[in-house]
């Protein structure tokens, strides 16, 4: 039975109130974005403090969807997200599993992986290597150089080591080789872990910004984050979404840059918000895949 004193209950109440307040403050920017993106030109310009749209309009959204540039960037980003996440998953899980098996040079290979945590080659040599391997201005430049996240690799390996050894050993007795063990035992048993890592990789791919401007020279290949930056941070909706802007200019009906920016931000964020509950499931329970020391 819990005996809580009055000061304790008060402390808990204050604690909870502060936390909820903090959570609401964190949510407010999203709320504001939704509100403004659905507001009409007049409402936005006239009101000092817009907290609820007087009229809900889709002007900004139809403007964005009318622009080929935005649609194309979404297509590009979906491609690198899906292909990139799958590629990363395959690379990470195969190497992760291989590192759990006793093999010649295992500790050396582990050292190779761990060393990359504490020293990295630097931006320019990495750029030059991407150039030398012929990936500049291709989508593969956004997929291959980031194929394996060493942290994910280690955690996935840890996870594989948690699978009971008896399963592997009985497969070995039945004459299976490691590849078959990997494909027929490990993978099916690891579906939740693979899904979680796949989503982690996918989110990173979706958010790709810098790699895109570093390695891609053709604007038509830009990802959605690059377009977003042009629109919102550089305030250049007119040039970035030129195809829609030209149409709008003809009918003298271009929505204000702020509402366009907000709508673009919302559209770029929606996929993350959609997968977020699935991500939440895996770590909200405090379950860190693999063991946490301490």
């Amino acid at each position: 039975m819990q005996h809580r004193t009055v000061p304790e209950r008060l402390g808990e109440a204050i604690n909870l109130a502060v936390l909820i307040l903090a959570a609401l403050v964190m949510l407010f920017p999203f709320y504001y974005i939704v509100i403004v993106s659905f507001s009409s030109y007049q409402d936005y310009m006239e009101s000092d403090l817009l907290l609820w749209p007087k009229h809900w309009v889709l002007d900004s959204y139809s403007f964005i969807f009318a622009s080929k540039e935005f649609i194309r960037s979404i297509g590009v980003t979906v491609f690198i997200t899906v292909v990139g996440a799958l590629f990363s998953l395959i690379m990470t899980s195969s190497m992760g599993f291989a590192l759990t098996r006793r093999a010649w040079g295992q500790s050396f290979f582990m050292f190779l992986v761990l060393f990359t945590f504490i020293f990295s080659a630097g931006l320019i040599p990495s750029y030059l290597i991407v150039k030398e391997t012929g990936l500049i201005d291709t989508y593969w430049a956004l997929i291959i150089p980031v194929a394996i996240n060493p942290f994910n690799l280690i955690v996935m390996r840890q996870f594989f080591m948690g699978i009971p050894e008896e399963l592997n050993e009985s497969a070995v007795i039945d004459g299976a080789n490691e590849m078959q063990i990997f494909l027929r035992i490990i993978i099916p048993l690891s579906k939740p872990a693979l899904a979680a890592f796949g989503l982690f990789y996918a989110v990173v791919q979706w958010n790709t910004y810098f790699s895109a401007i570093l390695y891609l020279n053709t604007p038509s290949k830009w990802t959605v984050q690059v377009i977003l930056r042009q629109i919102v941070i550089l305030n250049d909706a007119t040039n970035t979404l030129a195809s829609a802007a030209r149409d709008a200019a003809r009918s003298a009906h271009m929505p204000p840059p702020e509402t366009i920016g907000m709508a673009a931000i919302l559209l770029a964020t929606v996929p993350i918000l959609i997968v977020y509950p699935f991500l939440q499931k895996h770590f909200a329970k405090g379950v860190m895949l693999g063991s946490v020391k301490g």
Binding site: L19, I20, I33, L49, W104, I118, I124, V155, V232, G286
Partner: protein, 327 residues
């Protein structure tokens, strides 16, 4: 930044014998052993090639820091200049300024950003109603998954001269609009605030996991002894996460020269370049945009080596004060 968690053969496993054992010395020749293990190598090969080509070969590529590299002439035919670029690091006023910015930002991060996840996780740990706890955690983890473009985009719109923040300041305090994004004095505070908003929530994951492992009987025993909740936190909860705090602090110290490239790059503009340019962005501007490959590489190499020394030093320091190091 999340801390890498080092695998340890003694950490709890679901079954015995799951940790890799010592290699068997059978006395058979190496070649037959390799043949027996060929499927392991097959699985290992793609990842290994990836690490070699995209992580290790670039390390060798740092050699151009000692050359006057030209892409046309390549590695083999560019002129060698020894340490000339490294001397320039200490002589060039711009580099000195950049190093100062980097260190200043690291200091601000350690003082302001680092403690927040700790405080937050302690507060979350005290929440009894799991519904609220779940809701708050969901909200607070979310910004970690958003891109910096989105976050800085939101900030840009909020902080515009006609934006919400300036409107409020005007309505409540009668102030004139402040150009937050162009004001050098606001650059670093904004960076730190953005990091707090984005990463504090996610930063609690490690601490909450550690706190979940604390034996409830300890709290009961303390209560029986008459300890208030605050004393319980001080004597039970905090010591439980002490190791985690120390390890993360070591990592922060080791990463003093890394500043979060994408965030800073997106925030920089001609007005704030002076106070905001850090080593990572400097390497990009000089090395890639201005094609000063060798100098940019020299600065990058300098940064990498100093970072390595810092991590090794911080690791040794933590062992000296009685905590486990990272390795």
């Amino acid at each position: 930044m999340t801390a890498p968690i080092m695998p340890d053969a003694t950490t709890a496993q679901a079954s015995p014998q799951a940790a890799p054992r010592q290699p068997i010395r059978t006395g058979k020749p190496l070649s037959s052993r390799l043949w027996r293990e060929r499927y392991i190598f097959l699985l290992l090969l793609p990842g290994l090639v990836y690490f070699l080509v995209y992580k290790y070969v670039p390390m060798l590529g740092n050699i151009i820091a000692f050359q006057d590299f030209s892409p046309f002439r390549g590695f083999l035919h560019s002129e060698w200049v020894g340490f000339r670029h490294f001397e320039r690091i200490f002589e060039d006023a711009e580099v000195v300024r950049v190093i100062w910015n980097t260190l200043y930002l690291a200091f601000l991060q350690i003082v302001f950003s680092f403690p927040i996840p700790i405080v937050l996780s302690l507060m979350l740990n005290e929440v009894r109603q799991s519904r609220f706890k779940y809701f708050i955690q969901s909200v607070v983890y979310l910004p970690h998954f958003l891109s910096w473009v989105v976050i800085i985009g939101i900030i840009t719109i909020f902080l515009k001269s006609e934006g919400l923040v300036n409107e409020l300041l005007h309505l409540v305090f009668g102030m004139e609009p402040i150009s937050f994004m162009q004001e050098p004095g606001w650059f670093m505070p904004l960076i730190v605030l953005e990091v707090i908003w984005k990463e504090s929530g996610w930063g609690t994951v490690l601490f909450l996991a550690a706190l979940a492992g604390v034996n409830p009987a300890l709290y009961e025993a303390a209560r029986v002894d008459g300890a208030s909740r605050l004393r319980q936190i001080w004597h039970i909860t905090l010591p439980a996460i002490r190791s985690t705090i120390v390890i993360l602090l070591i990592l922060q110290l080791g990463h003093v020269l890394d500043s979060g490239f994408e965030q800073i790059f997106l925030m920089l503009n001609p007005f704030t370049m002076d106070v905001g340019n850090v080593l990572d962005t400097f390497v990009y501007f000089k090395g890639i945009q201005q094609s000063d490959f060798s100098f940019g590489t020299a600065v990058g190499l300098f940064k990498g080596i100093v970072g390595l020394i810092l991590i090794l030093g911080a690791n040794r320091l933590s062992k000296k004060i009685g905590e486990d190091g990272l390795f």
